[in-house]
Amino acid sequence: MTKARLTRLGLGVASAVLALLAAFAITSLVLIAAGDPVGEVWGQLLSWPEQRNWTNIINNATVLFLSGLAVAVSFRMNLFNIGVDGQYRVAAFTAAVVAGEAWLPGYLNTALAIVCAMAVGAIWAGIAGVLRATRGVSEVISTIMLNAIATSLVAYLLRQVAVREEGSNSLGTKQIPEGSRIGGIPFGDFEIYGFIVIAAIFGFAFWFVLNRTRFGFDLRATGQSTTAAVASGVSVKKMTVATMMISGAIAGLVGLPILFGDAYTYGSTFQSGLGFAGIAIALLGRNNPIGIALGALLFAYLDEQSNPLQILVGVSPDIVAITQGVIVLTVVISYELVRRYGVRLEQREVARALASDRSDKTQEVSA
């Protein structure tokens, strides 16, 4: 590893740490202003989780990782897929219906459901992509609209296909048959979602496609400079639609770990709001799969550790939502500040190298 790369890595880690420290400081200020016990809150948040909590953290992180990955794809091309929230709900609902009907036996059924979910997610995001490419509609606005439409649409469709479980008031799709569920990976006395393997594969594929293929190069090039991309023969319109659809396809996976590993049915109480966390995590992880994984772990960790706050110290666990939101802002600000610092560092380095070069020459001449 060259020195320049080492410096860059160091700066990257430093900016993330800086952002986290700033966010923790702001959270502490909020706690102090509200008169809540700061020390006890951090004592609980930073205590070592038990195995049961670790299981939850890893499971939630799997879900958040996929969400962050979906957002990151679009970020790489300078598109804002705010619509992961709607995309994963439409997709998870589709997967639940397909898997619940069980047209195919065993894991074939699972595979079919996953493919359907990805396809539906891709189509839902593709609408925004097509509108952007053909009519110049901002994908931010159209995905926000599509989120809201997804909410109503899924609510309506759910009522059409729902079966009421015995002794329960909640509506849900048919239970997924046992042979099509994805079993857990043993973790001490508990089990981690088996879907984590699929998530990891997608994480690797994300890195490989973006950094090692022609398509990934085109995508990143379009994100950094549309004109340069056009000059090298890339069709920006095609790339826009393709990127949105890939982003949507990954978004289609977000709800599936829960669906196949825990819930086995899509109901009105299915977890929502995972898409917006994905935006924060993609930013925190700088659109890099390993960074996103760490960001997802951090968010899941904060969520899990904050759960008992109300009982233990009498503080609402919603305080970590403030922390998470603030992280989004501090991350962006600190990356920018550190980037400027890095540029200055580089300039100084180059200047010094040039100066020493010149002084060498002068010495030669005088000698």
Binding site: R135, V140, I144, I149, D318, A321, G325, L329
Partner: protein, 420 residues
Amino acid sequence: MTTSGYAESIAAAPPRARRKLPRWWFAAALFLVLFALSLLESVTGADDLVSRGTVAATLIAVVPIMLAGLGGLWSERAGVVNIGLEGMMILGTWGAGYFGYHYGAWAGVAGAIVMGMLGGLVHAIATVIFGVDHIISGVAINIIALGAVQYLASLTFVGLPGGGQTQSPKIEDVPSINITFLGDFFGDIVDKNIFFVSQTAAVAQALVTNLSWLVVISMLLLVVTWFVLWRTSFGLRLRSCGESPSAAESLGVHVLRYKFVAVLISGGLAGLAGGFLAMVASSNYRDGQTGGRGYIGLAAMIFGNWRPGGLLAGSGLFGYSETLGLRAGGDSVHALLLAVAVLAIAAAVWQARQQQQRAAVITGVVAVALGALYFAIDEVPSDFSTMTPYVVTLLVLAFASQRLRMPAADGQVYRKGSAG
């Protein structure tokens, strides 16, 4: 999808024409809408399209959307995209709940505005001073605001009578206007059931019965916004920051200062929108009260082409469809289907005469499909009336985007001294 004559009045504007709509277009559009709805009532037999209750409920539904849209207008006219409106509204609902309960109704209004401005302050600091991408900052504010009010609610409302983690105690009402003798007079006319006259009377009756002062103030704010932004030098400078900040700076305008102020005002208006939801549309703060209205406000502003009049038309359309959906409106929304089908036929004929054959065919097919739908079903499921504003916005963006013109430098980060 549904639409009312608002959309028609906009679609009726000649294409590629620079011809401006006459001053009184809004009054004319309102008149047309009322007439069309009266006609629709007598054709379809749906009787709740223009009742006093519907009109009053529509006003209540329109105002928060319009205020949020106004917030968006202020900031986007200065070149700062604000999708944090939703979060600022959420802050406003808590502000109204807390200050309204402890210090009375008008303190609640002020509290809502101040809380919204706090959200605006965060957005302004992030986007204007630190140059953070506007969308990222907006998303962050929405996350923070949601967490913050839930945290604050459990801190401040737990233990109060009727309060709890998810709701505040009842807030004192904002005073309202009641002109009894006029209300009775209009009520008599409504009962006579004369075509169009009764419907107009129902509107008038709604305007003199239990009309909250906050509704009046909000409408005034719309007029004030129009005046300040389009008729004063302050407004001209502010808009120049959204169109061409470097040109503005070279003329000596403090671009960053104007943007900062605009985003603060934007936050205050969004906060007021939240306060309205807590104090007028209901009578206490409740968790999840905004229900995405910040986004609808943004949509209304885009629908209205970044202009106050269009914004009002957009919020009117969205608020009306929301109201019909809530008032067991399956029947009413169903009736509107017919109106939309007729409008679509008219549009198809018009397009055909403009030599736009392909567009005309598409519109014609849509019209026939809607007409068929009208006769095929008896009632539109409420979920579809909920999604109406969003679908309409998508369609408007998709089909009228050439006619929309947002501020030229909207959403771009401006750094001081870029004018060179």
